[in-house]
């Protein structure tokens, strides 16, 4: 019998949520700890987690998903949840990038996503800089876009780091190692002309845009969902510009897919490690993660090579 990695992760998250619900007092204490600097109109006692405890239902993160179905007992909780006001600052990110959800499992996953997003932005900055320095970019419009996009990704990284701090985490400050090793470095070795440079940039922008759109459906607070798409929408604009350079259709779909989001191996955990390592590693043996569209696939042979496809680029590295 085969289990998909996504299903395993879902089950793990559900287990974490159930555990949190069972450890009521502990969770409340942790919730207060994690929410120490959060704004909450009613204080910790009215947080979503506290309400979940009082109502005896899982938190929103704890909606148990089995085979695509959603157990909706916690709809009551969601209806009772009272998120704080949205306060968008000049930076484009909400000044208070958290609301009231204090479930530790939620916070942990939120921080994973924020760290991962930060690592993508830092990787984009370094990749654009490498492209600029490569001497392969000769079109002034492409050069102008590369500089602007590099700077915008730098701003995005800063905003995400601030959001990480606001959410109670330690800001991540490094490029995404998994994508650097499995996608960018191999691609950089093969850059031969301006189009190949633009193609690599487009792959990264696509991975970022689709990861953020997907994350908007995963983050536990409305404020963080809005914040991530305040950036994701811009990455999508980058996509459109880069596609134009390649004479491709600039708006190829009516709804942004999430098939090309980064694979879970690229997630950055609390220890700064990525993906499975952050959750304790794979159980061994061959694993394959294939997104719905089939365009983002990672296959890891047991102790062997890793093949990663992101944004249409495929690379294989020795294990």
């Amino acid at each position: 019998m085969n289990y998909s990695r996504d299903e395993v992760r879902r089950q793990l998250r559900a287990s974490r949520a159930d555990q949190a619900a069972a450890l009521g007092p502990w969770r409340d204490a942790l919730a207060r700890l994690f929410a120490a600097d959060r704004r909450s109109s009613g204080g910790p006692g009215t947080s979503a987690a506290a309400k979940a405890h009082l109502l005896g239902v899982p938190s929103r993160r704890g909606f148990l998903k089995i085979g695509g179905a959603t157990v909706l007992g916690a709809a009551v909780l969601a209806a009772c949840s009272d998120d704080g006001e949205t306060d968008v600052a000049e930076s484009g990110l909400p000044a208070d990038a958290t609301t009231t959800t204090a479930d530790p499992a939620d916070v942990e996953f939120d921080l994973d996503l924020l760290r991962t997003a930060t690592s993508l932005e830092i990787l984009a900055v370094s990749t654009y800089q490498t492209a600029i320095d490569s001497g392969l970019v000769t079109n002034p419009d492409v050069a102008q876009a590369a500089v602007l996009f590099r700077d915008q990704h730098d701003d995005h990284a800063g905003a995400l780091q601030q959001a990480t701090t606001d959410a109670g985490g330690t800001p991540f400050e490094e490029a995404n190692t998994f994508l650097q090793d499995n996608v960018v470095t191999p691609a950089l070795d093969g850059l031969t002309d301006e189009d190949s440079v633009v193609r690599l940039a487009l792959d990264l922008e696509t991975a970022a845009a689709e990861t953020y759109a997907w994350a908007a459906g995963e983050l536990s607070t409305t404020t963080l969902r809005q914040a991530i798409m305040g950036i994701g929408g811009v990455e999508a604009r980058h996509q459109a510009v880069l596609r134009g350079f390649l004479d491709e259709d600039q708006v190829p779909v009516a709804f942004l897919p999430v098939d090309d989001r980064v694979p879970e191996e690229a997630f950055v955990g609390a220890d700064g490690g990525s993906g499975a390592g952050a959750d304790g590693g794979d159980a061994g043996g061959d694993t394959t993660t294939t997104t719905a569209g089939g365009s983002s696939t990672t296959t890891t042979a047991g102790g062997g090579s890793t093949t990663t496809t992101v944004g249409g680029s495929t690379t294989t590295t020795a294990g």
């Binding site: 709809a75 990110l93 995005h156 908007a216 409305t222 994701g232 811009v234 491709e248 708006v251």
Partner: protein
């Protein structure tokens, strides 16, 4: 940064083909998001959708018209509750207003062939979006364009002197739609609903890029550093039955 008419037409054709492909399942997908097993989650209060402080007499230039900011900022959204159906119906009405706006722009005769192709494609996109949201809204759907939105844009289109003026209006509309979806992400509580909004916002943003390039705008004009909520449309100020 500019784009040729031929290239624009080619891009429009490509967009159309892929849009049609992508729309094949959107009706069912959106219905599932809003009325499937997750629907009860979406049935909660939408007070946050209607909250925030107003901005007094501030104004924002929308095309050639100065519009009171209070009409554009979700900050002015009323202290009332909107159901999922209400929200979907609002989105439907805005999309249909966009359809009419593009039709009116085409009917002016001021657009050249290549740009007409683009306008027709974008109009069709909005029409299909409206169909999708109408299906989601179910009984709340009106099938009518948002008159209050048209009251803002139609006069601008009628008074447009040339193609660039019309393209600018279209870009304002697309940017306004992106801002509206952005703000909605700070309101919708359900993850699936948020995901739906998050997959639409980028497309409206990309439309704005294409229009900005057709206008010969500077790169920074159509690629801001962050998506914001300026220009977002309020369902109270632009009611479905206007």
């Amino acid at each position: 940064m500019e784009i040729t008419t031929r290239a624009l037409r080619q891009l429009a054709d490509d967009v159309d083909d892929q849009h049609r492909e992508a729309m094949a399942t959107v009706h069912e997908d959106l219905r599932e998001v809003h009325f499937g097993e997750t629907s009860r989650v979406l049935a909660r209060s939408r007070r946050r959708f209607l909250r925030d402080a107003g901005l007094g007499g501030a104004v924002l230039t929308l095309g050639s018209t100065l519009v009171p900011m209070a009409r554009l900022m979700p900050a002015a959204w009323a202290q009332e509750t909107l159901s999922d159906g209400d929200l979907a119906a609002f989105a439907e009405s805005v999309e249909l207003a966009a359809v009419e706006a593009y039709s009116a722009a085409i009917d002016t005769g001021l657009l050249d062939g290549g740009v007409v192709d683009v306008a027709e494609i974008f109009r069709r996109h909005h029409s299909e979006h409206a169909d999708a949201f109408g299906a989601v809204a179910s009984d709340a759907a009106t099938g009518e364009a948002n008159q209050a939105v048209l009251d803002v844009f139609a006069p601008q289109i009628g008074e447009a002197a040339d193609q660039d003026a019309l393209l600018q209006i279209a870009q304002d509309l697309e940017n306004g739609a992106a801002a509206t979806y952005y703000f909605s992400l700070g309101v919708l509580q359900d993850r699936d609903a948020a995901l739906a909004a998050a997959t639409v916002l980028p497309i409206e943003s990309q439309h704005a890029v294409v229009l900005g390039q057709a206008l010969g705008q500077d790169l920074e004009e159509y690629v801001p550093t962050f998506q914001g909520q300026e220009g977002a449309l309020s369902p109270r100020e632009y009611p479905v039955n206007g």
